[in-house]
């Protein structure tokens, strides 16, 4: 056992005194650090970094002893603390000072802690409000007058998350081979690109190839855009023009938006 622990009260001594803590309740490394700072009654702006680092590491060991999952975030913070501690032990280096001397190596951590503390408290304050369904209730009984007539539907209300989630649930349900492109590669894929072109064409009649790639002139982008255009051409959704040799490539929607005919009838038509 580390003899130093005898002199310095640590987190573990706290446990022996019957002070109990919900080990798994620390909401991340910043939360744990704040707890240690409060427990040691030190100034957040002047953290005794050696002490706090030691207690922090003790805590992580404790989590390991208890076979709790030590999340990567906790370990990341441990290395940050050790880094700060080592920088504070070093005598001030003149050269380094000129480069990046912002003063205290703890400054960034203190800033994060203060900011985190703000939101932690804000969370407690909003959580203490009188919440609908918990402290406050609305009328649960439908008015008889309302149940009499339910006719038209009002505006649609659905969230984007519900839409994606519905799609995700669907994908989970059906066999993979039903899809031609289930898992699009990285950020770029033809389907996205087709969507992009279609949405641009909703507002305008003509588009230039260059416009589609101007933001992101990479070979991947050019190829994907080109393939998307070929696909749209094949589907006869767009037509492509070129103003002479080496001229700009233009394309226009092949079908005018309103030309599609009556919706109801269209759906009924044989597929």
């Amino acid at each position: 056992m580390n003899p130093a622990r005898e002199e310095n009260p640590t987190l573990l001594d706290g446990f022996r005194d019957g002070y109990s803590v919900h080990l798994d309740k620390f909401d991340g490394p910043l939360d744990l650090l704040l707890h240690l700072i409060r427990k040691n009654e030190v100034d957040i702006c002047d953290i005794p970094i050696a002490d706090i680092t030691r207690q922090y590491l003790d805590y992580i060991k404790l989590m390991k002893v208890l076979n709790l999952d030590v999340a990567g975030d906790f370990l990341l913070m441990a290395s940050t603390l050790l880094h700060i501690k080592s920088r504070m032990l070093l005598p001030p280096d003149d050269e380094e000072e000129s480069e990046e001397e912002e003063g205290d190596p703890r400054a960034e951590l203190v800033r994060r802690l203060l900011e985190y503390q703000q939101y932690k408290e804000a969370g407690m304050v909003i959580g203490a409000r009188a919440l609908l369904g918990r402290e406050v209730f609305t009328r649960a009984c439908p008015d008889p007058a309302l149940s009499a007539a339910r006719t038209e539907e009002g505006p649609l209300e659905v969230s984007l998350f519900e839409l994606v989630d519905a799609f995700r649930a669907l994908l989970a349900r059906i066999p993979k081979e039903s899809f031609h492109d289930v898992a699009p590669g990285d950020s770029l894929n033809i389907a996205d690109c087709i969507n992009e072109i279609l949405s641009l064409l909703q507002d305008r009649d003509t588009l230039q190839f260059d416009e589609l790639i101007k933001d992101e002139l990479t070979s991947e982008r050019v190829i994907v855009t080109f393939l998307a255009l070929l696909e749209l051409c094949r589907l006869k959704l767009i037509r492509i023009f070129q103003n002479g040799e080496y001229g700009a490539i233009w394309f226009i929607p092949a079908v005018a938006p309103e030309q599609a005919g009556s919706a109801g009838e269209a759906v009924q038509s044989p597929v």
């Binding site: 056992m1 109990s20 060991k61 649960a140 309302l146 839409l163």
Partner: protein, 202 residues
């Protein structure tokens, strides 16, 4: 809090009319007679103030109801009720959004059920539109999402649709396994009686 206020809040939040018996059961700390008096007084109070609703006794229970004379106004609201999406509408819309342009047969292949009705209602709601006809035998119609679709979902363009991968990423925790061996000092943590640690002070 006063007994009438208590009774009012219970009846207000209840999902059906409440009988005197039931109210007495819920408020054992009050006399039945007092509860009964409070109910009558409340009913009289609301009738007298000429507001939009009153406390009435119906089918053996007490309930707040809007006044029949105001029904004309109350019913105007019905049309404002926001429409909820059915699961099948949502699924179909999702398929079209993520796989457009595609035909009805392709939608149905993915969902495994007939989608004519759902598709029709999506077209009527103008969330989906016909983009053209596919150049294959039968020349089926090709569908895609509309401008209204973007408006309903508050999207700037189709490119802003979240990808599946992004939603799936919410379930994944970034891994820091490699750091496992990082900074901890080699000495062992002291043995701790772990039963102690979870002592809940509450």
């Amino acid at each position: 809090m006063s007994l009438p206020a208590i009774i009012e809040s219970i009846i207000f939040a209840a999902d059906a009319a409440l009988s005197l018996d039931r109210l007495c059961e819920m408020l054992p700390e009050y006399e039945r007679g007092d509860i009964k008096t409070a109910l009558t007084e409340l009913a009289e109070f609301h009738e007298g103030r000429g507001g939009g609703f009153g406390l009435v006794e119906v089918a053996g229970g007490w309930q707040f109801r809007t006044h029949p004379v105001l029904q004309e106004y109350v019913v105007r609201h019905i049309k404002a009720k926001t429409a909820k999406f059915s699961q099948s509408a949502l699924e179909t819309l999702a398929i079209i959004a993520y796989r457009q342009p595609l035909t009805r047969a392709e939608v149905e292949h993915l969902r495994g059920v007939d989608c004519g009705g759902v598709l029709k209602s999506l077209l009527e709601k103008k969330l989906v539109k016909i983009l053209g006809k596919k150049d294959i035998p039968g020349r089926p119609l090709i569908y895609g999402t509309s401008k209204e679709f973007l408006e309903v979902f508050g999207l700037k363009d189709l490119k802003s649709l979240p990808t599946l991968r992004e939603i799936q990423a919410l379930d994944e925790t970034p891994q820091f396994e490699r750091q496992e061996e990082l900074p901890l000092e080699p000495d062992q943590a002291p043995p701790v009686d772990s039963s102690l640690l979870f002592d809940d002070p509450e």
